[in-house]
Amino acid sequence: MSGVSLMKEIVEKLVKIVGAEFVSDQPEERYIYSMDPGTMPPREPDIVVIPGTSEEVRQIMILANRDEIPVVPLGAGLVLSGLSRALKGGIILDMKRMNRILEVNETSRYAVVEAGTSQGMLQAYLKKHHPNLKHSAPDAPPVATIAGNVSIHGSGHLSHAAGFHSDMLNGLEVVLPTGEVARIGSCATSPYWFSRAPLPDLAGLFLGWAGTTGVITKLAIKLYPNYKYNDVGIFVTEEAQLIPDILHRMTGTQVAEDMTTWMTPKPDWARGFLHCDINFGANTKDELIWKRNLIRASVQEYIDQKVAGFMPLPPAMKQPFLEVPARTLSRFADVRRGGGFEYVGAIMPVDLFPEAYKVGLEIADSLNVNYSLGSRIIGVNHCMMFFYAYAFNRADPADVERAQKALEETNRIVVDMGGIPWKAEAPAQKEIIRKMDPNMFDLMNRIRAVLDPKGIMNPGNWEED
């Protein structure tokens, strides 16, 4: 059967599974789904499908596996590093219709959601029905999906308190490439989705794999107290080498929920300064003041030495720093009036902060790109996600190329420095593999061969040349 005939047959079968209105092989969908907002070149899928249930996903996987059609799961398409492009054609599985919030356990503080549920949708649902609870939302726009962010080891507004979003995962329902539906975590043996322990932790088979091992259809995530009173402090210094110790001291108090740093040449008043935002909350005003004082005391020595200090912030100025997610972040894409920005998010030890910062400035300077640098602390200073964001003008190929070069250069340096690019685009994955223990890579391939014997899951990712 020719490729065209096969795809025609596949379309007909997909229509029977999900309905004609949710299958497209039209040029418009193939074009739009060929890229994300980042700099990775377009790769067209043959078909876009929008399933509505786990059962539909199961049937699609059986079909794709039978005919060896590549399948690429897609959340909101905001990964920016092109992970949800169909590098070898095939089917893009747009998960947005699977957006039901299935359960919120108020006492045990977890939520079970379908994989297409967006961050914003859960946030709004909790605000309305469970105002004392919240989840850790990333800085991504609110259409970003919870499953997508968990599966890439995302981080967010509670990551200092509770780690990566994958650390906050209680369980999964996945459809394997061969069509079996598997539950992982407590939900595999219990009606409750309370934990991944004490069973063998198979969730790792689906976290950080860039969709190459299966399709997540449901997941449970931990929820946290939503404090009545919330505050933010911004600690500022000009000396990058102080930052690791400043963060070490402040995280040591363990009273904040989120700690991030940011360095940018705009606005002018921010140029040259390193800002550390400390977000914290409390149930009472007294508790809030107590926490504020604890954080201040931890860095009092630097304040006394006059090498760092807290920025005075009137209440009105605090609001944008308390907003989750911050709407203004997307505006960085318009810095060059061109609708584009991309970033390397490098997971690395906090010790490397000064070097990471220096490298960011040097790359931006050498390639003349608009930059925004920063980091989010994961856990109690256990590591950080250091980001190098570069804006570009989508309509100017030379500018896009400049941003691409900046990213490539950053990825290479990050790996050499001892960091690991987060949600790495396919070329950056190869950089990581270059440095990776060969036995780990071999193990990855053996695991994939078992889970996905025909290699249909997002092929082109986590592969050597």
Binding site: E21, F22, S24, Q26, P27, E28, E29, Y31, I32, Y33, P37, V48, I50, A76, G77, L78, D94, K96, R97, S118, Q119, G120, M121, Q123, A124, Y125, K127, K128, P141, P142, V143, A144, R327, T328, S330, R331, A333, D334, R337, G338, G339, G340, F341, N393, R394, A395
Partner: protein, 388 residues
Amino acid sequence: MQYEEILHRCFRCGYCKLPGNYIDFNCPAYLAFCFETYSPGGRMWLLRAWLDKKIETTDRFQEILFSCVNCGNCVEQCTFPKFKDQLLLAFMAGKEELVNAGKVPPAVRDCLTNYQHHGNPYGFARKKRHGWAEDLEVDRFSEHEYLFFPGDVGSYDSRGQEICRSVARLLKANGISFGIFGADEVSDGNEVNAMGETELFRYLAEENIKTFNASQVKKIITLSPHAYNAIKNDYLQFGGQYQVFHYAQILAPIIKQQTYKSDVPPMRVTYHDSCYLGRHNGEYWSARTILSSLPGIQFVEMDRNMQNALCCGGGGGNFFTDILGRGANNPARARIREAAETAAEVLAVACPLCAVVLEDAVKAERLDERIEVKEISEIANEILDKAN
């Protein structure tokens, strides 16, 4: 194409798909079709690709462009202040390009042909335009304070005619001096403009302006928020300058001051904001003032209200072209489900298009036993009859 310089500046962050509280998708076309191509950002990038000859003028492309119902949610929610106000204008410019090329969906073509030949989207005779008023004592406009402009749906649609009569009755009962032009007026053209047929819109607007000016019209009350939008904002460019009011703006201060002789049974009511009153013109309070002033009303808001209201899907010509279809993801059906969740027994509207579209959705959702769509003058007449 006008505004093409902003198309590539969309980052596709997706705020435009949502209301301000993020509770669900809020772009009607995206809700109905689900594909990214039907989102505002997808449409921006597709238009850019089309101009760059990467995409051809297919039926699908036409459907994608004309599925935009001009609700303005994308403008309201877009995070890019430097070009957000031009989003809808860019989509309208894209439609205009297709109209000029003669490549539009058949339903759009037929609708525009009716406007061109008959001055209305139905293809009905112009002389029947005053049919709604035949059993009412409504004057032809001469020296009245206001011209009452019923618009296409109020003039021709049987449900729209009922609403038109109800509003006229309430205006008369409250001593408002108004007259009508009947067959001498044509469509306000708001949907024609939204569908990108700018020359036909100009023709319709100029026809009305000639009629209005010949009778020295100064103040206009519109039945439809769509007509309100066109006459208030778009007729200015053709020399038509009037004080334009939606009927709720006239009635709100009057009803607010009224007293009532007897109690009436309680009625739990929620309100659906019309996009052309709300997001397009910032008018959120007149209808709410009327409802909150009436005795017996227990008012409850839906999750998506005011600036964040979900459109019924009837704008941008879709009321007549039905590009969005009638499936379960149709925005009107989603809106009815949302209204029913409030446990309201009545969904109040201030727009005849919203009324017709949402009533169809009640039937499609089989919620007839739980909720009823009523236009606010109908609610007011009903309650005032009981209370006085």
